[in-house]
């Protein structure tokens, strides 16, 4: 739970100041610091970023009555429903975070002598 919460917090703060791809750096760093297995690392990276992106996107969607979400959904998916957009956003962020988390874990493994 600890790495997940840390990732949520750090990535959210980082993105206020840094470009979107800072999520990869943060996920990498957190999973480098602490993750049990590659799968767990991917899971933490994915869910940590996906949650942040989903919550923020969903809040924006609600606050703005979905005016833009509707238009963008039409642009991307030819439908007015924002569901796909609210799914693909965390999916994409999650994928970036997950892969970086996995890379963090694997990189750490190079430096640990203890066999897993």
């Amino acid at each position: 739970m600890m790495p997940f919460l840390l990732l949520v917090l750090l990535s959210a703060v980082a993105q206020l100041f840094l470009p979107w791809w800072s999520i990869a750096l943060v996920a990498f760093g957190v999973c480098f610091w602490r993750s049990k297995t590659g799968w767990r690392a991917f899971g933490i990276g994915f869910s940590g970023i996906a949650v942040v992106w989903f919550v923020y996107a969903f809040l924006i969607h609600l606050q703005t009555d979905g005016i833009l979400t509707g238009r963008m959904a039409e642009l991307f998916f030819k439908t007015k429903t924002p569901v796909f957009l609210l799914l693909i956003t965390p999916l994409l962020g999650g994928l970036t975070g997950g892969l970086a988390g996995l890379a963090g874990h694997q990189t750490r493994a190079v430096f640990t002598t203890k066999p897993e």
Binding site: Q15, L16, P19, W20, W21, A24, F28, G38, W53, Y56, A57, I60, H61, Q63, T64, D65, I67, L68, T69, R71, M72, E74, L75, I88, T89, L92, G93, L95, T96, L99, A100, L102, A103, H105, Q106, T107, A109, V110
Partner: protein, 811 residues
């Protein structure tokens, strides 16, 4: 093994992240675009917020207060003029940055920088037309005037103060979709924007087609079919108005004005959907006893909205109206004393001269019995992802040689080996006109303001609280011999040059005419008694006649009765054609559906409303009728473009010359077709085609659905940001000119008087952001033909429940 795994996972992670950080063809950088922290989500705006914001900006002289009302119109209160234009630049950029930059990029021939080599030919076309050359001349004109220069600098500084504060997350959404960033604003961009307007309104030309027509028909038939004054006309300056000036001597035409057109191509014609209405009703005809002024400019309906409403208040002015995003001041509007509006004149201010070069080096050209040097201007078109394209353009004293014989022109349309003489290449100071109008108090102020105006020539309508009304087709008009530039011109003869200008004071103008109103709808500026030549052909008079008939009949005119007139959908053209055409229809030749359609048309009241079926039939029929009469005589040929006589001449033909040879189809040598046959067969094919399109006659034939008015985003194909199939009546040639793509881009009515009241609407919204509640909020009001009261504040402290938020710009 561990190292390998680590490397592999790193590689995948970096690979995916990098891939999501860059665009793939037309697909934008998805990671960046979808990030809620910097992607499109950041462009979503909240509805109905009220706020007080203080922003510290560099460049203002003193603090400025901007109040935003419930339509998101900025009301700018500044202590000096510089700050007002500074704040106008700031507020406009805040709502319209992408649009103002994109439009000026387009005018400057810089679209290739954004979308790559697809746009190179478009960019080359704009540059060859001399847009950059013209913009530099305009900038020169504005910079030579200390007032205009200061306005331009203030506006520029305001835009840049806004741009400087932006983080990538704040960029308008179009930047994020197309993957680029805003650049600093410069004064020449204002000039480019004004050039673009000139291109829209005063770059159409039929010279090549007319030259081909004359070669085919000879001069006298050409003059007969393409007359210099319409069969039916009600000119802008009422017939009988006296010209109270001593005209200057007209230049003499050369003995022989014949030219060939060695060119296979032709130029863009005037777009008949682009035009406008305006009028002012004098005090004796209004309910309040003070003049009322109305204006609705028709342009290609686009989003972000063409116009941006603004109120500018300083110690020297308090003006409200619409501005063009990218140009300082108010273009159409009012202040407490006066109101004004514009429609396009359609003067012939673009002519083509055939250039004879000395040799293939093209260093010199023959003119006025001398070899004269050709100037070269190098244009560098930067291309996204490709090396820049360098284009050398040849300039003669006429203007740029738009295309040379060996060039493959863009747009299938352009005379090769011809130099373009175009009003947009003149030094001008057009923003001064609006600067003065914004502060005008009297009729004389209006006349003075107009004298600075060059292009695109406009019919400036005027009304004031001192109970004057006036109208003037106004711009800088070349002094021409009659019909000069109706056809291509021989560029070697000095007599073909433009020889000075019609003196500004002698531009057509009328003040307080006896009929009690003035109006314009792009028809002929004057009757043939005006001593100068402006053009041989103007927009058809249908809108003008309808407006004048209604205004003549109206008494106790109010804002609301004029609002009804702006939304009038009476098809005047149909009312002229149908009584003539219907008796010629041979009923025995019709099928049952055709008979049914004929019955519908016979019962029509000429209202081209949303549900009208007869209107749909008429519009389709009339264009087939024109094809039926003229297509055999003026066949479509890409190598030798021709044009038909206009609808007015066609009306004259069917009305007065029913046995004319033009009804015979010359492609059927053994038969002699008659007017009955053409009228009947065109009607039948119109009905058959509509049945094919919409099924049996009924609701599916409704005019609004058939027409499909749309208001489209400037990026082609961006339907998600557009309004499609807007249910509105009217169309081309109708007072409510809402056509398929063009229509009333702003409707305004101003009741002058001791306490001015004004109303307006445009089909879109104040914000250019598709994520804003103010992007399309006015569309429905526009569609229904209603208007908003425009909030005209007297002072910054005036309390109005309509004020929603405050923005303070502090130093």
């Amino acid at each position: 093994m561990k190292v390998l795994k680590a490397l592999l996972s790193l590689l995948i992670s970096i690979g995916v992240t990098v891939a999501l950080n860059q665009p793939w063809g037309a697909i934008p950088a998805l990671g960046r675009l979808l990030s809620p922290f910097e992607g499109f989500w950041q462009n979503a705006e909240t509805a109905g917020y009220s706020s007080e914001q203080k922003i510290s900006v560099k460049g203002a002289k003193e603090d400025v207060t901007i109040l935003f009302d419930d339509l998101h119109v900025p009301h700018i209160f500044a202590n000096n003029d510089y700050d007002a234009y500074f704040a106008q630049g700031y507020a406009t950029a805040r709502d319209r940055l992408w649009q103002m930059e994109f439009q000026t990029h387009a005018a400057a021939g810089r679209i290739s920088e954004l979308i790559g080599d697809r746009a190179v030919e478009l960019d080359r076309y704009n540059r060859r037309l001399g847009m950059a050359y013209g913009a530099e001349k305009s900038l020169e004109g504005m910079s030579n005037d200390p007032v205009s220069k200061s306005v331009l600098e203030a506006y520029t500084a305001g835009i840049n103060a806004y741009i400087d504060q932006l983080k990538p997350a704040d960029y308008p959404i179009e930047y994020k979709l197309l993957g680029y960033a805003p650049e600093p604003w410069t004064p020449i961009k204002v000039a480019f924007l004004l050039k673009q307007m000139t291109q829209t309104l005063a770059a159409g030309a039929d010279d090549v087609m007319m030259t081909n027509v004359r070669q085919q028909l000879g001069p006298s038939l050409t003059a007969n079919l393409f007359p210099d004054y319409p069969f039916k006309e009600d000119p802008i300056i009422p017939v009988g108005t006296r010209w109270d000036f001593e005209p200057v001597k007209l230049p003499n035409p050369p003995p022989n004005t014949e030219t060939d057109s060695s060119v296979a191509l032709n130029w863009q014609s005037h777009d008949p959907g682009i035009g406008s209405n305006n009028w002012a009703v004098g005090p004796e005809k209004t309910a309040t006893g003070y003049p009322i002024l109305a204006n609705d400019p028709h342009l290609t309906l686009s989003l972000p909205s063409i116009w941006y409403q603004v109120q500018l208040v300083t110690p020297t002015m308090n003006v409200y109206g619409v501005s063009l995003p990218g140009a300082p001041g108010v273009i159409i509007g009012f202040n407490k004393d006066v109101a004004w509006g514009v429609t396009n004149v359609g003067a012939d201010v673009l002519d083509f001269y055939k250039i004879r070069f000395r040799d293939n080096r093209r260093q010199e050209y023959w003119h006025d019995e001398k070899w004269k040097p050709v100037r070269r201007r190098v244009e560098t078109i930067r291309v996204k992802g490709k090396p820049a394209v360098v284009d050398t353009i040849l300039y003669t004293h006429h203007g740029p040689v738009v295309y040379l014989p060996e060039d493959k022109p863009f747009r299938n349309n352009i005379p090769t080996g011809y130099a373009a003489r175009w009003i947009a290449h003149e030094v001008d100071n057009g923003i001064k006109t609006f600067y003065l109008l914004n502060r005008a108090k009297t009729y004389d102020d209006y006349v003075t303001a107009l004298s600075y105006y060059v292009a695109p020539a406009q019919n400036f309508v005027f009304a004031n609280a001192a109970k004057d009304i006036a109208i003037s087709p106004n711009g800088r008009f070349p002094l021409k011999w009659r019909d000069q530039g109706k056809f291509l011109l021989d560029g070697t003869k000095a007599a073909n040059d433009w020889q000075g200008w019609i003196p500004a004071a002698q531009n057509p103008r009328v003040k307080n005419p006896p009929r009690g109103f003035v109006s314009s709808a792009n028809q002929s500026s004057t009757d043939p008694t005006y001593p100068y030549y402006i053009n041989w052909e103007f927009e058809t008079t249908d809108r003008g006649m309808r407006i004048n008939q209604r205004l003549t009949a109206m008494q106790n005119v109010t804002v609301d009765s004029l609002r009804h007139l702006q939304n009038d959908v009476y098809n005047h053209q149909a009312s002229k054609f149908l009584p003539v055409l219907l008796p010629y229809i041979q009923g025995k030749d019709l099928s049952d559906p055709q008979k049914q359609a004929l019955k519908t048309v016979r019962q029509w009241n000429y209202q081209q409303d949303t549900a009208s079926v007869a209107g749909t039939i008429f519009v389709d029929w009339i264009s087939r009728l024109e094809d039926g009469i003229w297509a055999d005589d003026f066949p479509d040929n890409a190598n030798r473009p021709l044009r038909y006589p206009n609808a007015d001449r066609t009306l004259q033909l069917v009305t007065e010359e029913p046995t004319s040879r033009w009804f015979d189809n010359v492609q059927t040598p053994n038969r002699q077709e008659t007017i009955q046959e053409i009228v009947t067969s065109s009607f039948r094919s119109a009905v058959d085609s509509l049945v094919k399109q919409h099924g049996p006659l009924g609701k599916t034939w409704a005019w609004a659905d058939h027409k499909g008015t749309s208001v489209r985003h400037l990026i082609p194909g961006l339907d998600a940001f557009s309004a499609l199939n807007v249910q509105i009546g009217g169309g081309r040639g109708i007072v409510n000119a809402a056509g398929r793509r063009a229509g009333p881009s702003w409707r305004m009515i101003v009741q002058t008087g001791p306490d001015v009241r004004a109303y307006g609407v445009f089909p879109g919204g104040q914000s250019g952001n598709p994520g804003s509640p103010y992007y399309l909020n006015m569309l429905e009001t526009w569609r229904k033909g209603n208007l908003y009261e425009l909030l005209y504040l007297k002072s910054v402290t005036e309390k109005s429940p309509r004020i929603q938020s405050t923005l303070q710009l502090t130093r």
